[in-house]
Amino acid sequence: MLAPNTSVSIRDLTLQFGAVQVLQTLNLDIRDGEFLVLLGSSGCGKSTLLNCIAGLLEPTDGQIFIKGRNVTWLEPSERGIGMVFQSYALYPQMTVRGNLSFGLRNARVPKAEIESRVARAAKVLQIEPLLDRKPAALSGGQRQRVAIGRALVRDVDVFLFDEPLSNLDAKLRADLRVELKRLHHSLDNTMIYVTHDQVEAMTLADRIAIMRNGRIMQLGTPDEIYNRPQNRYVADFIGSPSMNFVEGHLERGTFHGADLQLALDGYRFGAPQVADRPAIIGIRPEHVATGPLVDSAPIRGEVTAELVEPMGSDTLVWAQLAGKPFRIRMDGQARVSPGDRLPIGIDPAKASLFDAKTEERL
């Protein structure tokens, strides 16, 4: 039933807190050595899912397999997982060395072995000079490194991260993100990483699972999630500024919406025959061609800039299309003022088309 190279496999996992369904018959297969990111808005059940995998929460129903072993009823320490928390959760009264070795001491690993493993982890994470300090005497970044080290020394199959970087400032977060990626390359462990930061998700993940209300809305590579969102929710959730949506209907391969007509030549439909129906088209602000690029776009038009937000590296222009606000992302050097007429180009191949009722991709 389980593919041989799955690391973590979740079958029909359901979890209820009283009457609230937090996880709804959730299925997920994570490959060996994969970096999987669970992404979703606050309260969608990411931490809950992670805690279930860790064994810190008992599911109402369903099974969890790790390395082909049914771990549903096992204690957290018996599952071969290590966990890193948002608040670091270092034991305040122990030194860094004590924190790193606590799990090994509980498992009655011989002293010499403990020492060598702690030394190795400290070296990998560059926290050797800190080994005899207490957590209170560490910076946020150092604390998070120790927390990662605590999972590292235990030689686990699966690393679980619950928003490990969200308490750090932007610069440090970027640094540690790169380090985490490097660590993953050198370790080849499976990593499951919870975040609600899109940048973290896109940069770290082999695959991303987008969650909403305890369900997985889409599981795919960052490229698939970004370029071919399976439903309107994912399309809207991913990308900043978010996607422009225009409501209308699909008629013989052309999208009609208010005064807008888009011949969808080059658009990859999910099925060979898609019947005419009410539909929504989604166009990312960064996929709207401006300036010299307009000429090469299959569909061209003109809008009036209403509001201009310069953001340094790029400029966000607000306009109207088919009677709806329409965002266009331009180069940071672009000189546009409100009221300017702006030629734009759209490539249907980069657009996303959704059924207006089911909001699924067409």
């Binding site: 320490s77 928390f85 959760a89 305040p92 509980n106 605590r150």
Partner: protein, 318 residues
């Protein structure tokens, strides 16, 4: 020597300098606001505090001076005056010679009885309460909230109601009149308040710390002894103070659940002060009373700071 180079002056400051004749500051308020000490508000406030403080301290003063006076001097009647003829004898008599019924070895017997009651009662009641609080805070199980609620409600039942049933119960299990019977009673009656304290303190410990320890393979006792205990000194001190003073000052349970030769110090004190034979020795009585109050007093002085810290920490989360 060249003038040190000036870094250029700010025009606005220069304008101010001109107006103030080179001072560079405008007139009017500057820096911290001055505080006046002798305002009507302060006089009333501190005056009231002083009166109240005197009101509470005066009896203590009277006790203290009386305990160092001879009986002759006491009979002269000026209870506020310090002793003219200082004597330590009443203290010695209170401690070692005062008579209660057939024994004439003073309070010392009661003191040691109290110590024998206090130590196991405090240790057992705190051990039971801390583990219960830890369980209720961190190992929620079906019905744990209900148990907690019942426990708290228990604090509102007047304990006089339970005296007789408990006496019967202790008799049935053969602990009536024994030291351990009293230890059990103190443990039970200390539960509601102390479990509440410990539960609140332990729930204020971040949940992720507890989860991390579980992932690290620590069990129920491992987490309790190696993670929770080392970070909960303040709440243990609070609980200890509450239990020590409560148990030391206990009179009722001591009279009811122990027998004559095991009476705690408070009961012994009562027997000395209320003994009907001979004249009332006020100086001895005062000394005996002060001696009895010395233990809780010492505990407060020794750990006041930790007490405040613990109370504040325990109050964070309900």
């Amino acid at each position: 020597m060249a003038e040190p180079a000036t870094l250029g002056t700010v025009a606005a400051v220069d304008a101010i300098k001109e107006r103030t004749g080179g001072v560079g500051y405008l007139e009017g308020p500057r820096g911290g606001r001055p505080r006046r000490v002798l305002t009507a508000h302060n006089v009333v406030l501190y005056g009231t505090l002083l009166v109240i403080a005197a009101y509470f301290l005066l009896p203590l003063w009277v006790m203290l001076v009386t305990s160092f006076k001879t009986m002759d001097e006491i009979r002269q009647g000026n209870i506020f005056a310090p002793p003219t003829e200082f004597t330590i004898f009443p203290w010695i008599k209170a401690w070692a010679q005062a008579c209660t019924g057939i024994n004439c070895d003073g309070l010392s017997r009661g003191f040691w009885n109290s110590v024998y009651i206090l130590v196991p009662s405090v240790v057992v009641s705190i051990a039971v309460a801390s583990v219960s609080g830890y369980t209720l805070a961190n190992w929620r199980f079906k019905g744990s909230e209900a148990i907690f609620t019942i426990l708290i409600l228990g604090a509102f039942i007047p304990y006089q109601v339970m005296i007789y049933p408990i006496a019967i119960l202790l008799g049935k299990v053969g602990l009536f009149g024994s030291l351990w019977g009293l230890v059990v009673v103190h443990t039970i009656f200390g539960m509601p308040l102390n479990v509440l304290l410990f539960r609140n303190y332990f729930s204020s410990v971040p949940e992720e710390l507890f989860k991390a320890a579980r992932v690290d393979g620590a069990g129920f006792w491992g987490i309790f002894f190696r993670i929770m205990l080392p970070m909960s000194l303040p709440i243990f001190v609070v609980s200890m103070i509450i239990q020590i003073t409560g148990i030391w000052n206990d009179f009722l349970f001591g009279v009811i659940y122990t027998s004559n030769e095991r009476y705690p110090m408070t009961v012994q004190l009562n027997n000395i002060v209320n003994s009907v034979q001979g004249t009332k020795e006020y100086n001895v009585n005062m000394a005996a009373t002060l001696l009895t109050g010395l233990v809780p007093l010492a505990v407060y002085f020794a750990s006041g700071k930790l007490f405040v810290r613990g109370i504040a920490a325990g109050a964070v989360k309900g």
